[in-house]
Symmetry: C2
Amino acid sequence: MSTSPQRTAPRGRPADPSVEARALNAAVELYSEVGWNGFTMDAVASRAKVGKAALYRRWPTKQELLTNAIAGSKAPDVSLRDTGDLRTDLETMAEGLIGALHTPRGLAELRLQLEAKIYPEILDQAMDPIRSAWTASARTYVAAAVSRGQLPDTASPTLIFDAIRGAIINRFLLTPSHRSTSMLEGRHELAQRVVGLALASFG
Amino acid sequence: MSTSPQRTAPRGRPADPSVEARALNAAVELYSEVGWNGFTMDAVASRAKVGKAALYRRWPTKQELLTNAIAGSKAPDVSLRDTGDLRTDLETMAEGLIGALHTPRGLAELRLQLEAKIYPEILDQAMDPIRSAWTASARTYVAAAVSRGQLPDTASPTLIFDAIRGAIINRFLLTPSHRSTSMLEGRHELAQRVVGLALASFG
């Protein structure tokens, strides 16, 4: 952390470490609400209560700001634990995903995945770490279960993960807002049912 | 096709039936690209090459325009056929959904589902027919399969449909844009694998 005078900020004031955190939070929140079309440096600055200059110093473009904001908070749905029991771990992951979708971070990630379809040249770069983390988790995880004899070696990591994450996303998208609380409250049971279905073909 | 003088004499000009179709198409396209935050009457009018007055005459608010535009084109992913064979019909539905997601209409519907989470008071109304159609299809369809003895009567229509539609949406969202063509080309096989997994627990 430098205490030397800064170029464009008010002279002599020490750097405020909370500026970065506030800006990244505001960026995630704003993007989850309005998407790329409304994602401007002005709007982030105003929501975060930071100066625009402070934003541009750290992130010269809004792509960089968004990419950092999304990457900064670890994707909850791919942070798998390995307890040695496949079903338990997948249920924990599924339950975490249901919770995550009800946060700005989860919504922002889903929105980014959708909007990368529309603005690939701008947003595919921000999506790449998310895609890679997801694919790597699925592979590592299923490989471990195969090595423990809990899955046959023909099991497709992506198909199993697509079915779990997909079923939860679909249920989330089709649940009216006034039933969000009851979806959250029932997340343990939903996670069990979804994982049960995804693993059913393996006996 | 009218041959009467146009442009400067709006009064008395016969209604142009193509105005409505152009406006609805433009609304779906625009919404799929920019979302609610950029969805304005101005932008729809300009894309559809129709006057703003013509839009407001038909749809007094942008909610009404969007709801009509989305409802106007039938959701491809819920138009099930009933050939008597459950697996074949679900595969046809799944394949249709993969195709639909690669169109503005499919993207617009997915975006609407996401944005209804953020602006429920504005967009839940537009989502209601989509939710109802989806739930009704799942129930009718699974009930028919149960009555033919193709599924046990404990089978959950929503879980089966969530797994199929969800897995496809998840695969779509995680596929980089430069691989869209190959996802489309492989849609028959993907549909088979996803339906196979969703039905695996029923033997």
